[in-house]
Symmetry: C2
Subunit: 165 residues, 2 copies
DNA sequence: TCTTAATTATAGCAATGGCTATGATTGCAC
DNA sequence: GTGCAATCATAGCCATTGCTATAATTAAGA
């Protein structure tokens, strides 16, 4: 790339290039773990509710085909997050449980935060499903602080999104 | 999938299946437009700043290789969002400009909102790059309202993130 | 037991988004 | 004008995430 001396001729201002590339890289990384997080979280939910998590149930809840789930579960098993018992469904390893619990907590905080902002539960549910994967630890703390400072709305929102025992 | 009568045996509560699948579907759709939005927004920024947007500059700012950009630009041209002038760089069509402006405004609001929450500018920048694509119109309105209700912090944050003329 | 329905696995395809290596053009400086 | 450096295009590779169609296996009921 060539350096252009006439850059300052324009009054438009660009973000620092190094900073911007860092943002894009981090976002691409987050994108790669989105699916994994949603899978283990959903599996944990199904296990809590039904005491089992079958491929067909996971597929139905995600809105994808069963072979798509089969392929992803193989990957999760390779990564040591789940254990497949033949025709008995999927179970989480310790590592998988940890990731599921972390993802679930973050998901609930994000969703409750959106509700506390006055967003409708339906929209909060939909938006949280995507936003959660791009919320850093610092942002999650800010969301939590905000929820604590608005106890009524925040409290109700948290209660409304609780999905575990 | 088999119906299980013992579902109520557990005290764990699952979100409604139809609602959940709608969330996942919407999130997958958003994921598909993420890259497109980032590209047109970045191209608009480069055009405002440098009066041209070359593949190498786009690649450098995104942190990807130049052929990756070439392939994506071909797709954007097919979709009628950009126009490639041979060895003169990339330009936005009217449709591309509209999408870029919409994406840029949403991006700025999200980033300013995070700053107004007390999140550091660096973290706000990184998180906003991913979050923006999953923010619905309703959530964007809620963010805007929040910014208007916290004029000092919000105003400063917005000023700090302005990147256009 | 044995038959069947549920469950899971596999094969084969497509689209997307990365990469490196290399070739082709063009613009500009000399 | 010519040559070189910059810019862009292309080929070929891989991984991921989807799909449909179909086979294989298992659990369970008659
Ligand atoms: Mn989630
Ligand atoms: Mn999610
Ligand atoms: Mn953006
Ligand atoms: Mn972005």
């Amino acid at each position: 790339m060539v350096e252009r001396a006439d850059s300052s001729e324009s009054n438009a201002v660009l973000v620092d290039a190094n900073a911007q590339v860092e943002s894009f890289r981090q976002t691409r990384n987050n994108r790669r773990s989105e699916l994994v997080e949603d899978y283990v979280e959903l599996i944990a939910d199904l296990l809590d509710h039904d005491h089992e998590a079958r491929q067909v149930d996971i597929a139905q809840r995600l809105g994808v085909a069963q072979p798509t789930v089969a392929k992803m579960l193989k990957r999760l098993a390779t990564e040591g997050l789940v254990q497949q018992r033949r025709y008995r469904g999927i179970f989480l390893t310790v590592e998988g449980k940890n990731l599921a619990e972390k993802s679930r907590e973050r998901h609930q905080i994000v969703e409750a935060f959106l509700c506390a902002l006055g967003i409708s539960p339906e929209t909060a549910r939909i938006d949280a499903e995507g936003i959660e994967h791009h919320v850093s630890a610092e942002t999650l703390r800010a969301f939590t602080t905000f929820l604590e400072q608005t106890p009524q709305k925040g409290g109700m929102a948290v209660a409304a999104t609780v999905r575990k025992i």
